[in-house]
Structure formats: C-alpha cells, structure tokens
Subunit: 276 residues, 2 copies
C-alpha cells in the first residue's frame, strides 16, 4: 500500500517515516490542539473557517502559533497535492513542541498535517438512524479543540459496548451539549434546537444553521436531557459524519425509530451544498 | 553531549533517535498516563509504588497494560543501567499506541522510559521558601496521573509571570487541593494538615506522612482557601522537589516569610530517609 505523505515541521514525508521526538509536549503532556476537515470534489471544505478555529483553539490554551493563516493554508493544500486522493480527510495538529524539562514550552510548536482517504460510514446509519448514549462529562475549555480526549475515548468505548455510534456529553445542569466529535440538534415540530454555549463551534453546525434558516425556526439554546422525550427528531453533525440521524438516545426512542422528515430535508440540502 | 538512552516499545535507543508515529493516540488525543521518580544513591526511590500508581492510572482511564509490574520494573532498571548517571530522573510514559482512525485504541499501548540527570532546584527555594499562586481549576480524574496537562501548563506559565514556583488548584468549594506537580501540606501549630480527596496520591506525600506520624498530629482533610491565614507553615512535595517550603500563597505571607521550624524538621527527616 502506498503510504500517505504528511507534513511535519517543514518537511513532506511518508507517513510511516514521520514521527515526533519523545520530549514533545504533545506526547508527554497532551499539550496541543487540532482541527479536522474533508474535501468535496477534491477541494478542502471550509478550510478558512477550520484554520480560524485552529487559531482560536491555540489562543484558548495559550499556545502561540508562529504560522499565519495563509501559511497553514498553503501547507494544507501542498500536503493534499502530494497525496493523489479523490477525496481526503485532513487532520491539522499543533503540539507544544520540544521541552527541556518535559513541561515548559520552548515556544517552538510542532505542526503536522495528515491526509487520509475519506472513510465512509455505513449507509444504514443514514438510512435507518443511529443510537447514541449520554455520559455525565464536562469538557475542558469546550470552545477549544484541544488534545484532551481521554474522556472522549472512554465515552466512545462505552458507546460501542451498547452498539451506539456516539456519546453525548450531559453537564451538571442536566443539559445535553454535544457529542465527543459531533454537534447535537433536535427538531420539535419545525423548530430546530441546538445548544450554543459550552460546545465546540462546529463548522458543519454553522453550515446547517445557514441552510436551515429559511425553512425552520432556529433556536440556539440548551437542551435539557429531561425534555428529550418531547422532541420529534434528533441528529448529530460533523465534518465526516455530515448529518447523521439519531433514533435512540440511551433507552429513549425518537422519531418512531427512523430518521425524521425534517432531518432528511437538511441531509439533502447539505449534500447539494457540499457537493456543488 | 552524550545522548541519554531511553526505552521505547521494546528497544533501548539514543534519545535523539527515539520517536513516536503520528497516529499514536498520545500525540493526536493526549491519551495516556505516566509516572515519574528519581534515584537516591543510584537506586530508584519507591519504584514499586510508582509502578503500582502507573497501573492504577491506566486502570482509571481504561487503558489496559500488557506489561506486568515485574516487566516494567526490569525495563526501568535496564534503562537506568544504560545511562551512567550518578542520580537520575525517571519518566515512565504509556500512551494509547497507534490507532487506525486516530481515536479508537488498537490495544497496543506504547511504553517509553526516559532517564535524565537529576535537575536540582535553586538552594534558595529550600532556604528561603517559595511563592505559589492558586488557580480555580479542577483536574480530570485527579487520582490518575494522566497526560491531560493543558491546564497545568497554563497555570505554571501564570505562576512564573509573578515569580511563583508552583500553582495550586482550588476547587469550586474553595478548597486548596494540590499543585500542578506537587502535593500540598500546612502546619497549624504542630498539627499537620493535607488534603486526601480529589488529589493524586503522591508517593513523597505518603513518605512524609509516615515520617511525620510520631512527631505531629496528622489530619488528612480538605484545606479551605479562606482558612490559609490561620496556618503557621506550608509546603509542597514531589519526587523532585522533595519538601519545598512555601512562604507566600497569592498575596498571603505565611510563616513570617521564612521556612517554618516544623517544615525544617520534616525536610531533615526526609533527607535522612531518602539518602540512607
């Protein structure tokens, strides 16, 4: 198998040759941020927005980036060009870089851009909807896409044990916020609700709100777990999952166990928009 | 300069040659745990206890380790032997290992043992005492020594800006719990207080409680920030800092700005114990 080419600290190298030294703060302290996007028709989708969010994540954890938006964009495009993929997932990771004492940043972050083929989810997830579970976890600096994913990995393992595809975080006030790698939406009639605070600002989320605004009443507010039985449809969104209908949350069945009509409308709108 | 020799996934290699592939969950998800100790007279101090804690940390984040205590101990001893250091710091790190989708563990964790010369802190820290600050942060799974150190790195940078050496976490109830890499103690007269819940169980902390029990009344309970002005002495402890006297917490001066007598007694006892 041809190895993908990735970018790492100034070089474009074969993925199986690329590696990070052990005193990088990404390895010894989980200190870093990332962003993740995909291409449609070979073009990175919302690249500018993803780079902006990457920069905001860096700012929120106090990591100063020596690269401009234009430089990160160029590196990303070049990495993509080096790989000859029809469609690609693109992961941009910035860690704190080498540290002499394994805790103090030296101000030279590591930048890597990793390109892989787009991995499609099973078609039945979209046609029949998925199950998700909820977990009582609050994320650290939720507006930052940081590398602190220990609780997410645990939550996803828990989800898989019950055939669920995603785990949703519920805060101490009992509000459902977002998934480990997704945003969360529900329909109540033609009212589209999605949390606004305490979540990562999803780029796909923004696109969906834009596409939905002429058709549905949008309400950005917290969604109480206790009120989920009053919702008619639910779905999660992300760069790779796009819009994935949710038909079960823990033991609660939603939308009579099949994807709802309004969700389907948004799925169609999103496909048209992304692929046009 | 001779490069240290480290252990990485089955091999003993020069530190500058050792590196981890970019799809390791330690890099892309901060998923892992570690432990840290030092030698006295060339012998790892409380190695068994540190390995036990490492195993407990792994369990707490759901990472199953394929190595027995004896194997980790042997690898640690071998790494130490490869380096010819009078005294060494030893960092044992376990990450989630490679992942095909950058989030799901494949069940093959990465193990690294990194040995470096012991770095002494300035003598004046011990003779004159240090300043620390407090930060309103609660750690994720405090009993686990996980790689989630983003908030610790931020807190330490904040500390350094005001010439403080350490930052102490204060929880939402207003209790001072521990430092970013240390445990916290105060004396009220001859009563020695230290938190027990919501903290990492420090190995040095345990040694100090053992050494102190015949001389002082030990009270393991939460320490309210608002009650710090009633304490007579304060200190922090860790494998490398040992016992470091604290004479200022934020703007509060403690122990008339110099290390207290009881703290000094414990410092002497600890030195005798560790070096005997």
């Amino acid at each position: 198998m041809t190895q993908p080419i990735c970018y790492l600290n100034g070089k474009y190298v074969s993925f199986d040759q690329a590696c990070l030294p052990l005193n990088d703060l990404g390895i010894v302290r989980g200190y870093g941020i990332f962003d993740f996007l995909r291409t449609y028709n070979g073009v990175p989708f919302k690249l500018t927005e993803h780079i902006q969010r990457l920069q905001n994540s860096a700012k929120l954890i106090g990591l100063s980036l020596p690269w401009s938006s234009a430089e990160i964009e160029e590196i990303t495009q070049n990495t993509l060009t080096h790989n000859h993929l029809a469609e690609a997932n693109i992961r941009i990771v910035v860690t704190g870089g080498a540290s002499a004492d394994f805790i103090t940043p030296l101000g030279q972050p590591s930048l890597m851009v990793i390109v892989t083929p787009v991995s499609e989810y099973p078609q039945e997830y979209y046609e029949q909807g998925i199950k998700v579970i909820t977990v009582p976890i609050e994320r650290f600096i939720p507006k930052a896409k940081s590398l602190n994913y220990i609780s997410a990995i645990g939550a996803l393992q828990q989800a898989k044990q019950t055939n669920a595809v995603e785990a949703l975080y519920v805060n101490s006030q009992g509000d459902v916020l977002e998934g480990t790698t997704t945003n969360f939406f529900v329909f109540r009639g033609s009212q589209l609700l999605t949390p606004k605070e305490g979540i990562l600002n999803g780029i796909t989320r923004d696109v969906i709100l834009e596409l939905a605004k002429d058709r549905f009443e949008i309400v950005e507010q917290s969604i109480a777990y206790s009120q989920l039985n009053h919702c008619d449809e639910a779905f999660i969104t992300s760069s790779t999952k796009e819009i994935m209908p949710v038909v079960q949350i823990d033991e609660l069945h939603i939308s009579q166990g099949k994807p709802g009509e309004n969700t389907q409308t948004l799925m169609d709108l999103f496909q048209n928009y992304a692929k046009s």
